[in-house]
Symmetry: C2
Subunit: 340 residues, 2 copies
């Protein structure tokens, strides 16, 4: 009954935005205004193989529609974010690192068959960027770069209002731009990528190395309370002035500033949006040193304060909202819907 | 008479492409097929101030038209490449480093008045990239990055067939992307920019430091013959197997490979075009190690051999041809001219 009331204030046709992660499947029913009516979540259980996971995805989408109290017939399309490599044109997934055995899987066509709806696939972080552009921090911009700092560092590019997918559908990998030639080994096996010096994994590594070498820190106590070194733990240690955390985080922020400057010097965008767990836990405090470093490294200083470096606004919903925006744009014939 | 014969085989209306450098002004008359009919060159004499230089630019343009044997009335527009910062919309130049005292100069409007023709301004290296895209190495591509290695390192971006100027008209500064955080001091006053480790200036610096420290090299003998350490001298030393030159150039190529990978991981373009004195002197030999390094650092390996890393084709003419393409596109109402 609550859902019924809710539905009446919100506008059909609906789309469903989905996120396929290594551990969980998310689905959200989104109205024409870009508002989430209801969500559903399930474990991915990737080890059971693609057939099983695609069936679970279909169930999760239908469950979200039930939670929203809407008729399935009012849903016009489904957008899906998945880890790359993917091909948005064919809707195929090619061996993503966190979905082992998913080699050349026709994800979008098969989900489309199961749901009897058009399904559109894109890289998950690209869709997070699209979400922030259409419905979050970047709403009034033409050109925007998204940088999401978590266990890795992902990103996406909006140029001239459009998501850039790339020639091989591989664009937006800001985490694997090299900022420190011959620097630390990255998860990708190369050295000196942004991710190797500025991800939460890199921050954790450096804090653990400091502690192992006998440096004093509040971190061990906070980790004992929380169970692991979450972004929240880092934020608390930083707010309490823990010197080791301050130094290690400051270094990560410095590298993020250098990368931001590289992006500005190359693309000259209007806005850089920072999201992900670390940024959410620390907010604007995290961005201030990034802004200071970046600006020092801009090659063109004229108009430097017009380049905005801001925090993401959609939190964990950026991905499903971006997926919904993708589905909305692809299924709509109304050009007014182009902005989501 | 020779010009007369030539003219008859080439097609009016013509455009004039110009390049305003710190030491010389170039002008070329270009036909609808993108062929150069004739050129003219004068010293800039920037110390005489903008009024004087703009008058010289007008004279150089008219001289090129005389050399081509064409009527001035068959020229429909003029494109001008100038060092940034510039504003392509207003046609103003803002204090470029190599034109001292040019603060807020209405270059395009004033040259337009002097020539009684529409004049279009863009960053010089952006126009070199546009030239290579429309008439040189990148003719069959949608997305291309140009990297020009000389005393500095400049560049430009073509995305979806269009030159990217940027939000502040500052895009394409690949030379000031940071590849080696806290590396050598760059000409821009910051550290670790590509230019600080891979320009001819950086190569010269490292060779001189090696020689000063007592390392043996063929370079001093070749420099005595040539007068200075030109790109040709570097190419000869490299071909003769000079160990110091091989090491220093190899390091520069490695950094260029890392930067190429960063560009591919971010933008995922179809082609990277390398131009400039060093590349021209060494050709494909110079590109092979760049290709090897870059490819190792691509985060998405799928389709890696479809990303082409090639040498520029237009040599010193890239800039004036790009300027001509700009003028052609801006003055033409025929969409078929969009490709120059």
């Amino acid at each position: 009954m609550a859902n019924q009331t809710l539905r009446d204030t919100r506008a059909a046709p609906y789309v469903i935005g989905m996120d396929l992660g290594g551990t969980k499947i998310l689905a959200a029913v989104v109205d024409v205004e870009g508002r989430i009516l209801a969500e559903a979540k399930r474990e991915t259980r990737a080890d059971e193989g693609p057939d099983y996971v695609i069936k679970r995805m279909a169930q999760t989408a239908r469950k979200a529609a039930r939670h929203a109290g809407i008729d399935w017939t009012t849903v016009t399309g489904v957008g899906v974010g998945a880890p790359g490599p993917i091909d948005p044109e064919s809707g195929f997934v090619y061996n993503p690192p966190n979905l082992p055995g998913w080699d050349e899987i026709a994800l979008a066509p098969r989900l489309s068959e199961a749901l009897e709806l058009p399904v559109f696939l894109e890289n998950d972080v690209n869709l997070g960027t699209l979400g922030e552009h259409a419905l979050g921090a970047g709403q009034d911009t033409k050109d925007m770069v998204g940088i999401f700092v978590g266990t890795g560092v992902g990103g996406g590019l909006i140029l001239d209002g459009q998501l850039r997918s790339g020639f091989r559908h591989a664009a937006g990998e800001v985490g694997h731009m090299i900022v420190f030639a011959d620097g630390p080994v990255c998860g990708c096996g190369k050295r000196g990528c942004l991710e190797s010096v500025a991800s939460r994994t890199a921050i954790e590594r450096d804090i653990r190395l400091g502690i192992a070498a006998g440096r004093k820190s509040l971190i061990p106590k906070l980790v004992r309370e929380k169970g692991r070194m979450t972004s929240g733990v880092l934020a608390r240690a930083l707010r309490k002035g823990d010197p080791l955390t301050t130094e290690v985080m400051g270094r990560a922020q410095w590298y993020l500033g250098l990368l931001t400057a590289s992006l500005v010097n190359l693309i000259d965008p209007e806005m850089i949006v920072f999201g992900g767990g670390v940024v959410e836990a620390l907010g604007n405090d995290f961005l201030t040193p990034i802004r200071v470093t970046a600006r020092q490294y801009y090659i063109q200083q004229a108009g430097a304060d017009r380049v905005r470096i801001v925090a993401a606004q959609l939190g964990d919903h950026a991905g499903v909202l971006g997926a919904a925006v993708l589905a909305r744009r692809r299924t709509s014939t109304d050009p007014g819907v182009a902005r989501g």
